[in-house]
């Protein structure tokens, strides 16, 4: 009898232990499947997003508003050239490299909409499309007068506003997850409304004639980060949309690298045209008009890539040569 009672108790203990092990086994499977499903979903969205980026980049001067599921999209372009976008990157680790695409964006896109704007960068021939990405959750505040044209060309779907310097102190925190201040007439000053926001979520730029100064929030003031030379007005948009100086500078270097390659192709094309008209002279005397001006753009592009802080592109001569060729009915440079 006693032996039977002890046996029953041991049986129950055994059942409890076995049941616990089985439950633990299935719970661990569920967790592993969940994290695997998250990674799969992120990878699928990442592939679709890359296709969206490709499509948005092909059609210039267009605004696209893309509906998003409840995810965050991360963008990174750092000084060492590491450039990628990720879907819920911290949770899933899924990221896609952006080695050649210039995508100016905040470091995180949150919310259920994403706005993309594609603009062409010319020097003076088309080099590439620049993609500007943002979200309605990012607040853009233009302080002062100036840049009316650029401001009006920004998508209406963006959360943008224009104020005067005297109204800066009256700004209220509208609980946006990021705020970008664009100062047009004065050095950036941090409004009290944003002092409690995280340093990474508030930044400012000061737009001057040919340069843009970047500022990052350090506690309750703005600290200077760096200066970007604006060799083309389009690059001002890059400064507006970028998270910070580092990402803007990194993307601009990609543009100059691409400029170097495209200029090399146009330079070879110019030489091929000169050779053709040397071998097939006609009454237009075209061979005299190909002077190698495109080659100077190529040389400048290489210099700009090495030292983007001091960049000058000699596009005027190429434009003039092109116009002249058009007038004399010779094949144009571009």
């Amino acid at each position: 009898m006693r032996k039977a009672q002890v046996e029953i108790q041991f049986n129950w203990i055994f059942v409890l232990i076995a049941g616990f092990i089985i439950l633990l086994f299935f719970i661990s499977i569920v967790y592993k499947q969940k994290s695997s499903a998250d990674v799969n979903l992120a990878a699928d969205i990442s592939e679709d997003f890359k296709a969206i980026l490709t499509g948005a980049g092909l059609s210039t001067r267009t605004v696209n508003v893309i509906q998003l599921p409840d995810i965050s999209i991360n963008f990174e372009c750092s000084a060492n050239g590491d450039s990628w976008f990720g879907i819920d990157q911290e949770k899933t680790g899924v990221k896609n490299r952006l080695e050649t695409e210039a995508v100016f964006a905040p470091d995180t896109i949150k919310g259920n909409e994403m706005i993309t704007l594609a603009l062409e960068f010319d020097a003076p021939f088309k080099i590439m499309n620049l993609l500007f990405v943002t979200s309605p959750g990012v607040r853009y505040i233009f302080v002062g007068n100036g840049l009316e044209d650029a401001y009006n060309k920004l998508p209406d779907e963006m959360n943008k506003e224009r104020i005067q310097l005297s109204e800066l102190a009256n700004l209220k925190d509208l609980k946006n997850y990021k705020v970008k201040l664009v100062f047009l007439e004065s050095t950036p000053a941090l409004p009290d409304a944003f002092k409690n926001m995280a340093d990474n979520d508030v930044s400012a730029i000061h737009v001057l004639q040919n340069t843009v100064d970047f500022y990052s929030k350090k506690g309750d003031y703005f600290a200077s980060e760096g200066t970007v030379v604006v060799s083309d007005p389009i690059l001002i948009y890059g400064a507006i949309f970028s998270q910070d100086f580092e990402s803007c500078f990194c993307n601009i270097r990609k543009v100059y690298k691409r400029l170097g390659y495209v200029a090399e192709i146009y330079s070879s094309r110019e030489k091929a045209l000169q050779q053709y008209f040397t071998e097939h002279p006609d009454s237009r005397n075209c061979k005299e008009y190909y002077t190698g001006s495109v080659n100077s753009v190529k040389a400048s592009a290489e210099a700009c890539y090495e030292n983007a802080e001091n960049c000058v592109l000699p596009v005027t001569q190429v434009k003039n040569d092109n116009s002249f060729l058009k007038r004399v009915s010779c094949p144009m440079l571009y």
């Binding site: 059942v15 003076p124 088309k126 080099i127 390659y261 192709i265 045209l273």
Partner: protein, 150 residues
Amino acid sequence: MMETIAILFIFFILVMFGFIFYSRISKESYSAEAEEITALKAVQISEKANFLTDVQCSMDNIPDEDCIDVYKLQAFSQLAAKEDVYYYNIFEFSVINITEIYPFSGRSWKMYDHPLPDYTDLVRVQLPVSLYYPGEDRYLYGVINVGVYR
């Protein structure tokens, strides 16, 4: 006690069969998805090749769609071979050939080629295109052949 152990043993064998079945189904579904991704990639690469600024025709900086400038193409072929790493980021493991088909001259240009080591398949896409000779100011018919290695 022995009965319980026997039941548990059979239970775990059944669970194991379930997992084997599930993993086989998953493997099939991943293969199908991989094929779909490769086909999508082939279309993406052909679109990129077709719209690539480096070779696209233009007149006073106005691009001419579905047109490739032959002088630019010749320069690009040499540049892509030299800057293979850069253009790999655009075209990945693929081969892009442009062939002149009318009037037929047999002329063909290898625009880009970066084979995948030990590839097993080549997913192909063809797109018609105009070929422009700027010296002669003449347009001919051609085809872009894009093959993505798998």
